[in-house]
């Protein structure tokens, strides 16, 4: 009943025309010629128009000369007051049942909103224009029309019903291991592997060993400088007595997660400027990777110092505190082979025995 209540006021408030009519709709369907209004000519409408126009009156020269909105805006001492109402997102998320809900993070008024992207990174353009068509062509497998792939056996095996206790038992894992690998689908136009995100992780050994937080500060700022992203710090999860770390006590690591624009800028800088300057660098080891399309390699502190951001302001960082880091390139490829194909096309060399 309460839901009907505003409806009554609504009908009163709205003008008569917009309220749905209670008359039967058949009234409009049966129209006669006599119902039509007397036809009016176009000339009759024109005579109703007023002949005097504001455009025809001449503008005084003084008004035209004084009209200069740019100068007026620049001459203004203070800013104009903002609009009467501006939505401010609530500072706290008070749960789903609270009447005051924060807007989604994609809303510019949200507190979590991150604007961008503002540029088209070179590496991304290279990927879009060159690498992705190449990968699609290289991975193309032709099947003649009418070809049906042989049916694959189920990845999880069923129990042979040799025992009555097999009933309702969960399925067995694959042979030769308990790990279900990612399924690799044939690469088509809509699942070309691409770089998804880059993780820069740095374990700072001395942060715990020396009981001195400056190591972590320097590492965090150095990683932030090279990645354009604020870092997260992590505490150790476990006790390791030889390293002198206790669980949940010592902050020992920093990590930066790069997505989108930041990621491509970092990748381009890494490949074009930093990696070629590393002395006697052979490339990324061919056996790296987690067999699901993510490749990791490490940089020692001397290599991290080669980044242009650290180089331009090298004196700011205590030389012995510059961290090394592990860089993980997460791709949407399902196997390491595809990920290596993508990354080597994007400019990362691999060496040694290639393990897929």
């Amino acid at each position: 009943m309460a839901a009907r209540e505003p409806c009554r006021y609504l009908t009163r408030a709205l003008p008569r025309a917009s309220v749905p009519s209670i008359r039967p709709q058949g009234f409009f369907s049966s129209r006669n010629v006599s119902d039509e209004a007397p036809a009016r000519r176009l000339s009759d409408h024109l005579t109703e128009l007023e002949t005097a126009s504001s455009l025809s009156t001449p503008v005084p020269d003084s008004a035209a000369a004084s009209f200069d909105p740019l100068a007026r805006a620049s001459a203004r001492k203070t800013q104009l007051p903002r609009g009467r109402y501006q939505f401010r997102s609530p500072k706290y998320n008070r749960g789903p049942l609270h009447p005051h809900q924060p807007p989604p993070p994609s809303d510019p008024s949200s507190r979590l909103f991150v604007p961008g992207p503002f540029s088209a990174p070179r590496a991304e353009q290279t990927f879009d224009s060159t690498v992705s068509p190449d990968i699609m062509t290289l991975c193309y497998v032709h099947t003649p029309p009418g070809f049906k792939p042989p049916p694959k056996s189920a990845r999880l095996r069923e129990w042979d019903d040799s025992s009555p206790y097999h009933k309702n038992r969960v399925l067995r894992g694959p042979r030769g291991g308990d790990v279900l690998r990612l399924l690799r689908k044939p690469i088509k136009f809509n699942n070309i592997p691409e770089i998804e995100r880059i993780t820069i992780h740095s374990y700072v050994k001395n942060a715990a060993a020396e009981r001195n937080s400056s190591w972590l500060h320097v590492a965090g700022i150095a990683i932030q400088a090279i990645s354009n992203v604020r870092v997260q710090t992590f505490k150790s999860k476990s006790n390791v007595a030889p390293w002198g770390i206790a669980a949940n006590r010592d902050s020992v690591a920093v990590k930066a997660e790069l997505y989108g624009e930041n990621m491509y800028h970092f990748f381009g800088k890494l490949v074009d400027v930093v990696l070629p300057r590393i002395k006697d660098w052979e490339g990324v080891k061919g056996s790296s990777g987690d067999s699901s399309g993510n490749i990791t390699f490490g940089l020692i502190p001397e290599n991290v110092a080669l980044f242009p951001e650290l180089e331009v302001n090298y004196d700011m960082y205590p030389p012995k505190m510059i961290p090394g880091c592990h860089i993980t390139l997460h791709t949407t490829a399902k196997t390491d082979k595809d990920a290596r194909l993508l990354l080597s096309a994007m400019g990362i060399p691999f060496y040694g025995k290639i393990v897929n």
Partner: protein, 191 residues
Amino acid sequence: MSMHTSLRRTAVTITNSTTTILPTRLPTSGTTFICSQCRHATLLRRPKRPYTFTQLITLSDGSTFTHRTTSPAPIYRSTRDTRNSILWNPSSSKLMNVEEDEAGRLAAFRARFGRSYDASAAPAAAAEEEVAKDSLAAKDPALAKRAEAEAKAAAKAEQEEEDNLLDLISAFGQNEAPPPPEKKVPKFTKK
């Protein structure tokens, strides 16, 4: 407006299923993710982003591109990058024996002492030959004359051979006449 649920994910297997409070146990290694609702208000922190500048990177071959970086320098000139690194250009003969002179010390040495030390190898060999000839002339003038004539003839023959080679190269396309067809046709018909 969408409903936002504030859920905290912890990698802890909670034995007590009735609890809704946050676990007090430390997270152990496990892959069981359990979401427990937290009823307090959570602060929506504004994301912190470092200020970035647009920087122009000039590679060693002169190509440029811009990127966003925390470095305030407007231009970065790289001396060593993918364009002149042997790892990225494995087939480039130019880079095979590229001189490692990143500090410019070899160039500074050359600017000070010149390159004459470098050119000493070939003139030394020529000088030795000259000395040998002189000693031969001192021993026997006729023998020396014969040796000189032989050398001249050898040089002339070499020159001629070079000319022939050059002729061969220049006349490669023009001299080549199409093979007579009447010779070939019966061959094909026979077979």
